[in-house]
Symmetry: C2
Subunit: 153 residues, 2 copies
C-alpha cells in the first residue's frame, strides 16, 4: 500500500535532529525502566536536570526549565509521590518549598548520566569515534550560538 521507503528526498535538519533525539530518548528511558525506574518519564528530566545539590525552590526549577511553576509542581508532585524527591518548607522563607533529591532520586540521576554516556559510546561504535566527537563539537557550538542569541534578545 504505498509503503515504499519514501522518495529519498533530502531530509530536513529538523528530521535529522528529531529522529536521533527520539531514538536516544527511547534508549535512555527504556534503560531506566530496565534498571527499575519505569515510572520516570522524559518530562521528569526537567526536574533532574535542574535541581541543585542542596535543593531548589519550585520557582527556580520552573524558571530554569522554562516552564510555569504550576507545570513544575505537577512534575515534582509525581516524583515526590514516587519517592525520588522530597520537598520541605524553606526555613528561610515561609512561602517557599525546597525540593531535594532522595537517595533514590540520586540513583536516577546517576543512571541517567550513565545511560547517556553508554548511548554516546554506542553511537561512536556505530558511526566512528572521530565522527561522533565532531558531531558533539558541532552541536555544542550550535547550542552556544543559541544561548548567545537568547541572551542578546
Amino acid at each position: 500500500m504505498d509503503d515504499r521507503p519514501a522518495p529519498e528526498r533530502r531530509q530536513t535538519l529538523g528530521a535529522l535532529l528529531r529522529l536521533p533525539y527520539e531514538a536516544l530518548q527511547r534508549e535512555v528511558y527504556g534503560g531506566l525502566a530496565a534498571r527499575g525506574f519505569p515510572e520516570i518519564r522524559p518530562a521528569h528530566s526537567a526536574v533532574f536536570r535542574h535541581i541543585a545539590p542542596g535543593g531548589s525552590r519550585l520557582t527556580a526549577l520552573a524558571e530554569r526549565a522554562g516552564m510555569t511553576k504550576q507545570s513544575m509542581a505537577y512534575l515534582v508532585d509525581g516524583l515526590e509521590a514516587a519517592g525520588h524527591v522530597r520537598s520541605l518548607p524553606d526555613p528561610r522563607d515561609g512561602r517557599a518549598r525546597l525540593v531535594t533529591l532522595t537517595a533514590k532520586g540520586e540513583k536516577v540521576v546517576a543512571a541517567l548520566l550513565e545511560l547517556g554516556a553508554e548511548a554516546e559510546a554506542r553511537l561512536a561504535g556505530r558511526i566512528g569515534a572521530k565522527r561522533a566527537a565532531r558531531l558533539r563539537r558541532a552541536l555544542e557550538e550550535w547550542v552556544a550560538a543559541i544561548e548567545q542569541d537568547r541572551r542578546a534578545r
Copy 2:
C-alpha cells in the same frame, strides 16, 4: 537566587540534540505563523511529512508517522477544518478515506521546506558552512544507523 549559569558540566548528547531541535522548531513554526499559518502546530508536520502527492490513506499516514490511526485522525480533522487538507472516500475501497493536500496545504509544505532551508543557512552562517555540512552528514549517518537497527529488529 542561585541562577548562575550552571556548573558548566559536560552536556549530555540528549541536551545537545534537544536544544537545537527546540530552537529550530520555534524558528520554523514562528515563521509559519508570520507567513499567515498560525494554526499549524508541530504535531501537524506528521501529516505534511508523510502525505503522498496523490493522497494517502489515514492508516498509511498513521503507520508512517508511527502513531495510531486515532491520533492521526485527530490531526487530519484539524487540518481539514482549517482547509489544509481534504479527505474523500477512496473510490477503490469503501472503507477508506483518501487524504489529499489542498492548494493551501501545498503552500504550507512549501513554506515548511523553505523555512527549514533558511534555518540551516542561518546555522551555516553561525557556526561555519563546513562545520554545518559535517554536522548534517554525521546526523544523516546516525539516522541511517537507526533505521538499519529498526529494520533488523
